[in-house]
Amino acid sequence: MNDMRLTERTVNANDIKIAARKVQVFYGTTHAIKDVDVDILDKTVTAFIGPSGCGKSTFLRCINRMNDTIDICRVEGDILLDGEDIYNKKVDPVQLRARVGMVFQKPNPFPKSIYDNVAYGPKIHGQVKNKAELDEVVEASLRKAALWNEVKDRLDAPGTGLSGGQQQRLCIARAVATSPEVLLMDEPCSALDPIATAQVEELIDELRENFSVVIVTHSMQQAARVSQRTAFFHLGNLVEFGETGQIFTNPRDPRTESYITGRIG
């Protein structure tokens, strides 16, 4: 695999899926995210890069309001999903999260069977009418996560018994099963070995056909490999946002350049 594969990139003029305007996040008195404006396109992989503690994960968790589960966290500004403000009082985060799925840093399959892991989302949201439909969704999701062939004979086995890479793909299948529009991935490969990482990256590229994917990553190579657009965060600020090729070959901001060339990080 070529590490800096920047060719054959087709950035379509897709619709804007998520628009963030002047987003501020506070943890207690700490100002973690400052004035971030971002447009995330549909059917595109957007990568958030930056040094540790730069706020990229925090911002990601704002997009499906996962920060609500942290008491001291406060979000200001607007984040619009298809033009609707997700922090509006009328919005139920439960409904929002069915449309904005999330995959976490560490594979976290539930202590249930593989089947039940994938079926969990559709069941709680009442998206299926009967067992046959559910079977269909589970199979489709596992196929999308490129896991079907490996587990189709042992759907009743516990999800925790799979290898790390398989577990992460199971988690992706689980997130995909509710057929979200946006898939948020928080360093999905950081706990995986290189082979599993390659599989998941390949998968991300395929997911782009159906979803808008946002991925936080530590690895610039990974961002370069899987994303079409890249946002560089530094100390809570969005420093630069643009097409991945441009960010990596011709960064406009000196801080971006320093990071990419390894001088800060």
């Binding site: 929002l96 999260r97 969990y120």
Partner: protein
């Protein structure tokens, strides 16, 4: 010589040993500490340990073994006695009486050894010093008592001599070995290590003691009362004059019924409280409510017993049992079960709370990330993940309920019944252990000994529950560590 004096003497020897040993080490090195292998204190410590520890161990062993040895020897003097236990009780009493007679100066030791049961009125003499005997004393029994007494005296003298000899020998052997090359630190540290091991064996000794005393007396009981009746009879009806029915089932039924009600109270409240405190409550509420619930576990059970007796029992009787025509007793299965339920709430809630907190946050995130509500996450992800641990917690609570004594003594009643009515007074295994062992019946009678069989049943029952629970909880902890 009294035990206290003997112990004090050994201690003085040990302290002296410390001082002398230290001095000898210093003088053998001619004041140059660098020549010594260890610091001078260690030489003193070695002498002190060698003086005191073997002597005290010997003393403890002697005190423990002497009664058994003497009793078997005295028992040989009483061939053909039917109720040896009862006779031995008399022997002990008479021996004690003789001691008192001598102590109060009525008779000399010499006079006592000449005393004969067929010539003098032993019973009235014993009465003079406050020892009440049930019947006149047979000559063989009196002779046995005399030999019991003299053996005891000899034993005591023998012990004093032996303990002092061992102390002095230990002192000498350690003291004489002192020279600069003597590795006093290593020796005394090995010695201390042996002491540490001995301390950790106390736990084993306790269990062995429990099992032996229960099994021994239970075997005794089954010799005079058929085991089949005990395990199969449905009647519990002890009689003073003998001919008792001692079937365990009414007691087991009462125990299980009370425990079941207790669990029916404690499990839902404890579990929901644990879930609320772990998943929902603000830090402030948690900081207040959690200790408050744990206070419930720190309150002595006698307090719950009194609560059942004066508050819950009368209340249940006046507002439920009597209006519903279910009974007129204030002590009932319901009273005891309810109060016991309150007592074991913290056993369920505290342990469940720990276990729920041990479920990794990543699982919660995974569930919330999929759009589950908090209660869906709890019900479908956290509880299944925590289930083994929670089952363990409930089993521990059940074992607590089954072994609980004071609440049922004061709240459940004393009538052994096989009834379904929860407002009726029933009784439990623990209640009967207390009533059979605190009554006035003779120790060797089946009515008393049955308590040991009940105790063994209780012990085995709770042991199984505890071990299963411990294994489950331990497995669960390992899973997330």
């Amino acid at each position: 010589m009294t035990l206290g004096l003997l112990a004090a003497l050994v201690l003085v020897l040990a302290i002296g040993g410390f001082i002398l040993g230290r001095q000898r080490a210093l003088s053998s090195a001619k004041g140059d500490l660098r020549k010594l292998h260890s610091l001078p204190g260690y030489y003193g410590q070695t002498v002190a340990l060698f003086t005191a520890v073997p002597a005290f161990v010997l003393m403890a062993v002697w005190l423990f073994a002497q009664p058994a040895l003497i009793e078997t020897r005295v028992a040989k003097l009483l061939p053909g006695e039917e109720h040896l236990d009862l006779v031995m009780t008399d022997v002990r009493k008479i021996a004690e009486g003789l001691d008192l007679i001598v102590a109060q100066g009525y008779l000399s030791n010499k006079a006592i050894s000449d005393m004969r049961a067929d010539l003098s009125d032993i019973r009235s003499r014993m009465g003079d010093v406050g020892i009440a005997l049930g019947s006149n004393v047979k000559p063989t029994v009196f002779e046995a008592a005399k030999s019991y007494r003299s053996l005891n005296h000899m034993g005591r003298i023998g012990m004093t001599v032996a303990v002092l000899a061992v102390a002095l020998a230990g002192f000498a052997s350690a003291f004489l070995r002192i020279q600069p090359e003597f590795r006093a630190r290593n020796v005394s540290e090995s010695f201390v290590k042996v002491l540490l091991i001995a301390a950790s064996l106390v736990a084993i000794a306790t269990t062995v003691g429990i099992v032996l005393s229960l099994v021994f007396e239970t075997v005794h009981f089954f010799k005079i009362y058929p085991a089949a009746d005990f395990f199969l009879s449905l009647t519990w009806n002890p009689q003073f004059g003998g001919g008792s029915d001692l079937g365990i089932w009414p007691l087991i039924w009462g125990t299980l019924y009370v425990s079941l009600i207790a669990l029916a109270v404690a499990v839902p409240i404890g579990l929901f409280a644990a879930i609320y405190l772990a998943e929902y409550a603000s830090k402030k509420l948690r900081a207040i409510a959690k200790p408050l619930l744990e206070i419930l576990a720190g309150i002595p059970t006698i307090v719950y017993g009194l609560f059942a007796l004066i508050t819950v029992g009368p209340m249940l009787r006046d507002y439920f049992a009597q209006p519903l025509g279910l009974g007129t007793s204030s002590s009932s299965v319901m009273t005891a079960g309810l109060v016991m339920g309150i007592m074991i709430i913290p056993f369920v809630s505290s342990l469940s709370d720990d276990i729920i907190n041990a479920v990794p946050q990543s699982l919660r995130d995974g569930s919330y990330g999929l759009g589950a509500t908090q209660s869906e996450t709890v019900k479908q992800v956290i509880l299944p993940a925590a289930l083994p641990g929670i089952v363990g917690a409930i089993l521990l609570a059940a074992s607590r309920a089954i072994g609980e004594t004071m609440i049922v003594v004061l709240g459940a009643g004393a009538a052994a019944k096989l009834s379904m009515n929860p407002f009726e007074a029933m009784t439990t295994v623990t209640v009967k252990i207390v009533s059979q062992l605190t009554g006035d019946t003779e120790f060797a009678s089946p009515e008393t000994l049955v308590a040991f069989a009940l105790g063994l049943t209780l012990f085995v029952f709770t042991l199984i529950l505890n071990i299963v629970a411990l294994v489950i909880v331990r497995k669960y902890r390992e899973q997330y560590e």
